[in-house]
C-alpha cells in the first residue's frame, strides 16, 4: 500500500490558491501565477426563507362555496347543446341494448329564464352481434320509455352540489394536490357524517385560481328504492373550460336494477347507463327575447 505525502511548500501553495490569496510576483525567481479578478463576485449574506401557511381544508371548502356561487357571475345569456343518451342493457333470453338519444339547444337569460329547442331524437336497439334496428313502440311491451324534455333543464346555474350546500352534513379530507405554477388543484374526498342519510360520498377536484369545481365523482352507499336499485355507479360530473369559465361537460351514471321486480310482466333492464353531454357553448350571445316568452319558464 503506497501513501502519497505532499511536501509542505506544495500544501502551502494549494492553501493559498483555495483562499484566493495567491502570492504576487516574486523577487526570488519563483513562478508567478496570474490572478483572475475580472469576474464580479456577489456575496449573498444569508438565505431568506419565505414561509406561508397552507390553506386549511375548511378554508378551501368555504372558498369553493364562494367560487361556485360566483361561477356564472356576469353571464347575461347562455346557449349550449345538451345531448342525453340512455342505454338500457337487457339480459336473459333476449339480450340486447336499447338506446335513446335526444339532443336539445338550451337557452338561458339572466336571472332565471330557461327555454330549449329539441334538435334530434333517435331510438334504436343494438343486437348482441352489433347490428342496429329501430326501437319501435312494439318493443316497449306496453311501457313507453322516454325522456321528459319538459321544464327541467337539469342545469341550474345557482345550484351548489349537496356537499357544498350543506357542508355540516359531510366530512372532508384532502386526498391529493397537484401543484401548478400559479394555483393548486386539490382532490378532496367527502362523505356524509350520518350513516343513514341518503347522501353521496365521493371526491371533488377544486382548482384554486377561482376556487371552482372542475370534476366531481360520486358513490352512493345508501341507495334510494333498494328494492329496485342494485347499485349506482360511475356517477360523475365533468367540467370544461370555455372562455375562461368552467362549464359542465358531461354527466354520467350507471344503475344496476333488480330485474325480478317486474314479476315477469314488465321487462326490467339489468342495467341502465345515462350520459349527458354539454357542448357548443356560446357565452353572452344576443338572443331573441321572444325565445323566453313561449315555452320558457
Amino acid at each position: 500500500m503506497s501513501v502519497w505525502r505532499a511536501s509542505r511548500p506544495l500544501l502551502a501553495c494549494l492553501a493559498c490558491c483555495a483562499a484566493g490569496a495567491w502570492p504576487g510576483p516574486s523577487a526570488t525567481g519563483q513562478p508567478i501565477f496570474a490572478r483572475e479578478d475580472s469576474l464580479p463576485v456577489y456575496v449573498v449574506p444569508e438565505t431568506t426563507r419565505v414561509v406561508a401557511a397552507r390553506v386549511g381544508l375548511a378554508e378551501i371548502i368555504r372558498k369553493a362555496q364562494e367560487g361556485e356561487r360566483r361561477k356564472f357571475d356576469g353571464i347575461s345569456t347562455l346557449a349550449f347543446n345538451r345531448t342525453l343518451k340512455l342505454t338500457l342493457s337487457y339480459a336473459g333470453r333476449k339480450p340486447e341494448k336499447r338506446c335513446l338519444e335526444t339532443s336539445a339547444r338550451v337557452y338561458y337569460r339572466s336571472p332565471d329564464r330557461w327555454t330549449e329547442a329539441p334538435l334530434r331524437e333517435s331510438r334504436y336497439i343494438v343486437e348482441p352481434d352489433g347490428t342496429r334496428k329501430p326501437w319501435t313502440d312494439e318493443d316497449d311491451d306496453g311501457v313507453r320509455i322516454g325522456v321528459d324534455d319538459g321544464d327541467e333543464t337539469g342545469l341550474w346555474l345557482e345550484n351548489l352540489p349537496a356537499f357544498l350546500e350543506d357542508t355540516e352534513k359531510f366530512s372532508f379530507r384532502i386526498l391529493h394536490r397537484s401543484l401548478q405554477r400559479d394555483q393548486v388543484l386539490y382532490e378532496i374526498g367527502f362523505k356524509p357524517r350520518s350513516e343513514f342519510d341518503l347522501l353521496p360520498a365521493g371526491r371533488v377536484w377544486i382548482l384554486t385560481g377561482r376556487y371552482q369545481i372542475v370534476r366531481e365523482e360520486y358513490e352512493m352507499e345508501n341507495l334510494p328504492v333498494p328494492w329496485l336499485l342494485k347499485s349506482v355507479d360511475l356517477l360523475t360530473r365533468e367540467w370544461q373550460e370555455v372562455d375562461g369559465r368552467w362549464l359542465p361537460r358531461r354527466v354520467t351514471a350507471r344503475v344496476e336494477l333488480h330485474t325480478r321486480v317486474g314479476l315477469g310482466l314488465v321487462r326490467i333492464p339489468n342495467a341502465a347507463e345515462v350520459v349527458v353531454l354539454f357542448d357548443e357553448y356560446r357565452l353572452d350571445p344576443e338572443l331573441d327575447p321572444a325565445l323566453f316568452e313561449s315555452g320558457g319558464r
Binding site: N81, R105, G189, G295
Partner: protein
C-alpha cells in the same frame, strides 16, 4: 374480466385511506386521465353520441331566434307533447281515501285537470262506508303554484282536530292494527285565500273562511290485528256551530331546513258573524344542528286562545302531536307551550355489533324528550283533565326507525315513550310509516 367500477380501480372515494400526496401535473392532464378511465368503464354505446350536424343546427337556431326555435319544436313533434301537457286530466285514484273510526273505510277518487296555464282545479269525492255519508272536496286555483296564488275551496269532510294530526299512513295502520290516534269533527263550508308565497321554505297567506263544524260519533271499531287499541275509543264530541273569520299563516325557513319558524293568527265572530267568537295565535320554531355522532332537532311551540273558543279550538296538550306517551287531548288550556328534543343518531350502532342478522337491520335510534304545560281554564272535550296551570309534564323515549324507500312511505318508525308523571300505565307506543317530508313530525294530513 371487465372492470365496471371506479371504486374497483381504487380511484373513487373508497381509497381515501391513503395519505394526502402531491404531484405537479397540469389540471388538463389530471382531468384527461380521469376522463379516459371513465370512458373505459362506460359502455361503448354510451360514449358514442351522435352530435354530427347539431352544431350547424344550433347556429341556425341561435341566428333565427324564436321563429326558428318554434319551427324546430314542431319539426320534432314537440308540439304534440306540449298539447298533451296543456290538458291533463290528472286522475287521482285514491283521493280522500282513508280509514278511521268515524268514516270507516272512506273510498274516493279525484281529478286535478289543468285547464289553462296557471289555473288548476281539484275535485274529489269519497264515500264513508261506516258513516254512510259522502264526503267531497273541490278547489280552484289561479296563479303560480309557488305563489302568488288565489285559492277557493269547498268541502264537506270528516277531518282531525287538535294537535294530533298523525301522518298519511294513519289510515292504513288504523285498518290493520286499530291505530286510529286522532279525533275527528265534520267540517263543511268554503274558504278563499291568497298566498303571496307558497314555497316549502317560505309561505305567507291570508284566508277567509265560513265553515260549520259538527260532532261526529265513532261508527266502527273494526280492525284486523291486535286488541285494546285506540280504534275502540269513542270520538269526542265537539261544539257544533258556524265559524266565520280570517286567518293569516306564515312560515319561513332556510333552504336546508336547519331552522324554521311559523306562525298563525286568526279570529272568528265579531263583525264577521257566526256562532263562535274567539281569537287565536300559534307559533313554532324548529332547529336542526349536526353534532358529533348525529343530529339534534329541537322544536318549541306555543299557542294562545282568547274569547269563547269552542271545545275543538282549545289549546290541547298530550298525544303524538306534542307530548308522546300521554293520552290524546289529555290537558287543555287557554295557553300552551311544549318542546320536543330529538337526537338522531347518525351511527349504525347495530352494524358495529357484528352480530349476524342484527348487523344488517339498519335501525336508526332516536332518543327523545318531550315537555309541555298549559294555563287557563277553557271549555274542552269530555275526558280532558283540564289545565295544568304551569305544572310541566314530560316524557322520555326512544324512536327506532328504518328506511323503506318505498315512494310515499320512506321510513317506518316506532316510538316507545315513558311518561314521567307517575301514571299507572306509563308506557306508550306509536308505530307509523312516514313519508320523507313527514320525518320531523309535520302535521300535514
Amino acid at each position: 374480466m371487465v372492470v365496471t367500477s371506479l371504486a374497483v380501480l381504487g380511484l373513487a372515494a373508497g381509497a381515501r385511506a391513503q395519505p394526502a400526496t402531491f404531484d405537479t401535473l397540469g389540471v388538463r392532464a389530471v382531468l384527461e386521465r380521469r376522463q379516459s378511465v371513465l370512458d373505459s368503464l362506460l359502455l361503448p354505446e354510451s360514449t358514442q353520441l351522435d352530435t354530427a350536424g347539431t352544431a350547424t343546427l344550433a347556429d341556425s337556431l341561435d341566428q333565427g331566434g324564436a321563429a326558428a326555435v318554434a319551427l324546430q319544436r314542431d319539426s320534432v313533434e314537440a308540439a304534440v307533447r306540449r298539447a298533451a301537457k296543456r290538458f291533463d286530466l290528472g286522475f287521482k285514484p285514491l283521493a280522500l281515501t282513508t280509514y278511521n273510526r268515524v268514516d270507516g273505510l272512506r273510498a274516493g277518487a279525484g281529478l286535478e285537470p289543468r285547464l289553462v296555464p296557471h289555473t288548476r282545479l281539484e275535485l274529489a269525492a269519497a264515500y264513508g262506508f261506516a258513516r254512510e255519508k259522502w264526503a267531497w272536496f273541490a278547489a280552484f286555483e289561479a296563479g303560480r303554484r309557488t305563489g302568488p296564488v288565489l285559492r277557493l275551496a269547498w268541502r264537506d269532510l270528516v277531518e282531525p282536530f287538535g294537535p294530533n294530526r298523525g301522518c298519511r299512513s294513519q289510515g292504513a295502520l288504523a285498518l290493520i292494527a286499530g291505530q286510529d290516534r286522532r279525533d275527528y269533527l265534520r267540517r263543511e263550508g268554503w274558504d278563499v285565500g291568497v298566498w303571496a308565497w307558497r314555497r316549502r321554505a317560505a309561505r305567507l297567506g291570508a284566508r277567509w273562511f265560513d265553515t260549520r263544524d259538527h260532532a261526529v260519533a265513532a261508527a266502527t271499531d273494526f280492525y284486523f290485528l291486535g286488541g285494546d287499541v285506540p280504534m275502540q275509543e269513542p270520538n269526542p264530541a265537539v261544539d257544533s256551530g258556524t265559524g266565520r273569520g280570517l286567518v293569516i299563516e306564515g312560515r319561513r325557513g332556510d333552504r336546508l331546513g336547519r331552522a324554521t319558524v311559523g306562525g298563525t293568527v286568526g279570529f272568528t265572530g265579531g263583525l264577521a258573524g257566526g256562532d263562535f267568537e274567539f281569537v287565536w295565535q300559534e307559533m313554532d320554531v324548529g332547529l336542526r344542528q349536526v353534532v358529533p355522532g348525529g343530529t339534534l332537532w329541537l322544536a318549541v311551540e306555543g299557542a294562545n286562545v282568547g274569547g269563547s273558543p269552542p271545545a275543538q279550538a282549545a289549546a290541547y296538550l298530550g298525544g303524538d302531536g306534542n307530548l308522546r306517551g300521554y293520552d290524546r287531548l289529555e290537558f287543555a288550556g287557554r295557553q300552551r307551550t311544549s318542546a320536543r328534543l330529538e337526537y338522531i343518531v347518525g351511527l349504525d350502532l347495530l352494524r358495529r355489533t357484528r352480530i349476524p342478522v342484527v348487523q344488517d337491520l339498519e335501525l336508526q335510534f332516536i332518543p327523545f324528550f318531550d315537555a309541555g304545560t298549559t294555563w287557563g281554564t277553557v271549555r274542552a272535550v269530555e275526558g280532558s283533565r283540564g289545565s295544568l296551570e304551569g305544572d310541566a309534564r314530560s316524557s322520555v323515549g326512544l324512536g327506532i326507525q328504518r328506511a323503506l324507500w318505498i315512494p310515499g312511505a320512506e321510513v317506518v318508525r316506532l316510538d316507545v315513550a315513558y311518561r314521567t308523571d307517575g301514571a299507572d300505565s306509563p308506557w306508550g307506543f306509536w308505530l307509523r310509516i312516514v313519508a320523507l317530508d313527514e320525518v320531523f313530525g309535520s302535521d300535514e294530513d
